[in-house]
């Protein structure tokens, strides 16, 4: 009873709260980092150096009027943001924050497959939300989102297969342990896959330079144009939660998960003083910073160019990488 219900439930409560709070602070971090990149200060008024902005924003969003457009499909319009947020949160159930079972909710042996499958559901929220708004900009946006998801999901999944070949398991804990046994992060063994998954991750989470479904200067916010208040913020939460998910997946697959850098080199053993979950979160933060950094720097791709990159560049490279990995696996 205790082990089957109470402990997992407690873990879920802690994890959900941690994620939601970190999402609000991620928004603050994004605003701050972009502000610094643009020689501004960013939020400074609420709390010391604007720290409490992370709380003020959600309060504002909750208090705002929740509008449903008159001609919208009411039910779908309501369900869509939930559909986009829930998968983003569910994924965390298999993310191992550390080696100890205390640090993950569940350890299923097809963890990676689970993540790939569940994150793809999230885009339905965007498609349905755009369609249910009964408005033209959201419609265009949801068309873009579905095309984008398909073209990038394939490339990312094929690439992940090559990592699975290297690791020999779909279990996320197993993948990290495989990296410990190999004595090197898979990011070094599979540099091409590393870059592909990161680029694909940018595209799947609709981040710059692939934020076409949102594209506020073209589609005026895209799928969430007609949303306001809490329903809008659910989309918002989902996007940032997805960014954290992708960062976590990349860290697990390519950056050694909770392990300290250079796990088998005696000189660097002092790294082990820092607990694994801190390493894990620290690595995620590095990736999150890169996400934000790219947003501050790059212009946006056009829709057709994005599709070109997906189908003509990423998928061939991913397939080639898979073949080479397979051959290497057989030969060595």
């Amino acid at each position: 009873m205790l082990d089957t219900f109470v402990v997992p439930l407690l873990k879920i409560v802690v994890l959900l709260n941690a994620i939601l709070v970190s999402v609000t602070f991620l928004v603050l971090m994004e605003r701050k980092v972009i502000a610094w990149a643009q020689s501004r200060l960013g939020p400074m008024r609420v709390g010391p150096h604007g720290l409490l902005q992370a709380l003020a924003d959600p309060i504002k969003l909750i208090l705002k009027e929740d509008i449903t457009p008159a001609r919208a499909d009411k039910w779908v319009f309501t369900i869509a943001p939930i559909m986009s947020l829930v998968p983003a949160l569910v994924v965390f159930s298999v993310v191992p924050f550390g080696f100890d079972p205390l640090f993950y909710v569940s350890d299923i042996n097809v963890g990676l497959l689970f993540i790939v499958a569940v994150t793809s559901i999230g885009v339905y929220g965007i498609i349905l939300g755009g369609w249910a708004s009964n408005s033209k900009y959201p419609l265009l946006s949801s068309l873009r989102a579905s095309a984008q998801l398909i073209s990038y999901e394939i490339a990312v999944t094929i690439t992940l297969v090559s990592v699975v070949l290297t690791a020999g398991t779909l279990n996320l804990v197993g993948i990290v342990e495989a990296q410990r046994d190999a004595g090197v992060w898979f990011g070094f063994l599979q540099p091409v896959a590393f870059i592909l998954v990161f680029i694909g991750g940018l595209a799947e989470t609709n981040r710059m330079p692939f934020d076409l479904p949102e594209a506020e200067t073209e589609l005026t916010g895209g799928f969430h144009t007609e949303y306001s208040g809490m329903r809008f913020s659910l989309f918002f939460l989902a996007e940032y939660a997805n960014v954290i998910v992708i960062s976590a997946v990349v860290v697990i697959m390519f950056m050694g998960g909770w392990m300290a850098p250079f796990p088998n080199v005696p000189v660097f053993e002092f790294f082990e003083i820092i607990p694994g979950w801190i390493w894990f979160i620290g690595k995620i933060f590095v990736l999150l910073y890169v996400f934000i950094w790219l947003r501050a720097t790059l212009p946006r791709y056009r829709y057709d160019q994005l599709m070109n990159i997906g189908w003509k560049v990423l998928i061939p490279i991913a397939l080639g990488n898979l073949v080479i990995t397979g051959i290497a696996k057989v030969v060595f």
């Binding site: 643009q38 501004r40 033209k136 073209e218 212009p299």
Partner: protein, 379 residues
Amino acid sequence: MTLQTPRVTTSASAFDTDELVLNMGPQHPSTHGVLRVVLRLDGERVVHADCVIGYIHRGVEKLCENRDWTQIILLTDRMDYVAAASSNLGYCEAVEKLMQVEVPRRARYIRTILAELQRIASHCLWLGTHAMDVGAMTVLLYAFRERELLLDLFEEYCGARLTYNAMRVGGLPLDIPSGWDKKVLAFCDLMEPKLDEYEQLLTNNRIWLQRTRNIGVISGEEATAIGLCGPPLRGSGVSRDLRKDEPNAAYEEFDFDIPLGTKGDIYDRYLIRMEEFKQSIRIIRQAVTGLPEGPVMGKVPRLIKPPAGETYHAIESPKGEIGYFLVSDGKSTNPYRFRVRPPSFCNLQALSRLVKGHLVADVVALIGTIDIVLGEVDR
């Protein structure tokens, strides 16, 4: 008004598709004000585009016919409000031409400095918003940072930051404050490395290149036929810059180049404006260092009453050729007819031609590359 375009079926196959009519604007973040573009889309491809203007029409031209010649300067500020000094300059010179007034050399020099500072300020705004439309949001803040310094310079000169009312018929109301010329030179020194900073972010950026090259190509002949002016015309390789062709103010005394494009796409127009920044700095440096002594106001009667007649005078504003057609009846103190040839309006004509066959994302890039100010389009 027949704006409602009928839905046209494009193909007769089993999968019939309709064209989507999309209203871009007047409330849209990238139409630079209250421009409304009615797009007919096939998927995301633009089949046809109509520009609807007039949302901030204030009747400036008619208004001017009821104001005296000096009061009009203030109204010219309100047309191209991001390049007010250029509008002032064009109008004042047109009246001077009508009255055949000699403007002191010092005044002409200071006018040139103001006009060129204005060109940099206007191009800063263009660069920031254009890059923002394409998605590079940091450039906006960088360009505005430098534009702020320019506005400070203008504020120090005439007290206003946007609508300057900085010139008068026959010269200038004010001489430059002491030390202002040094500050202008200091700004020039500061601006040059900043330009490299902008270019680092954009000029060789692969995404920027893909978004701007071969988009909105227009040939030199076509550009001339439509009546384009300014950077969009020079981007197509047509050498026409009124600062060289029909020099006004003190331009004939300075040494500067007119950059020309070859292809006539967005990227060419971008490069031309980036080069114009540098040429403007060059002109300002020459003007400030060679600033002659003397009065800043010519001999003009207190009550301005040009003799009966008409004139057309055009100058090169940051956006292109801004021309004033003035008719005086010689009796009253207000113009009989006042008409502006606004560069934004003439350049905007090209939009529906440029966007045809491109995607929605290119529409905003093309609005940006034309560099319009709706205050001037609608007047």
